[in-house]
Symmetry: C2
Subunit: 71 residues, 2 copies
Amino acid sequence: MITEDLGKRIRELRQKTGLSQEKFALNIGMDRTYFASVEAGKRNISVVNIKKIADGLGVTLSELFDFEKLR
Amino acid sequence: MITEDLGKRIRELRQKTGLSQEKFALNIGMDRTYFASVEAGKRNISVVNIKKIADGLGVTLSELFDFEKLR
């Protein structure tokens, strides 16, 4: 499922930043519980919020979705 | 704006398929007027629907978002 694949990818990249879910969500101005549910693959997240997360992670959207090539 | 950039990219790739908006939307089981508003950059589309469009276009999500590198 795409929401789960994306959530895993976001978690992986967020963990590389060394920031907790709470701190990262705070940095990008996103609700902490919402962000946690995105990482858990439970949200059908919109492109505006995906872009906000990608910007916070310092990656392009194309890089964020790179996981498709690897699986 | 990300919704506009994505809409333009989808339109560009959809036109390459030679299909009209109507025919493409029908092929992927998406409402025609909804799909038209996505191409127009007027929808904050969700990842499940983005994936549906990418699959219909025969590109990965990473390829769909490649436009960021070009601008």
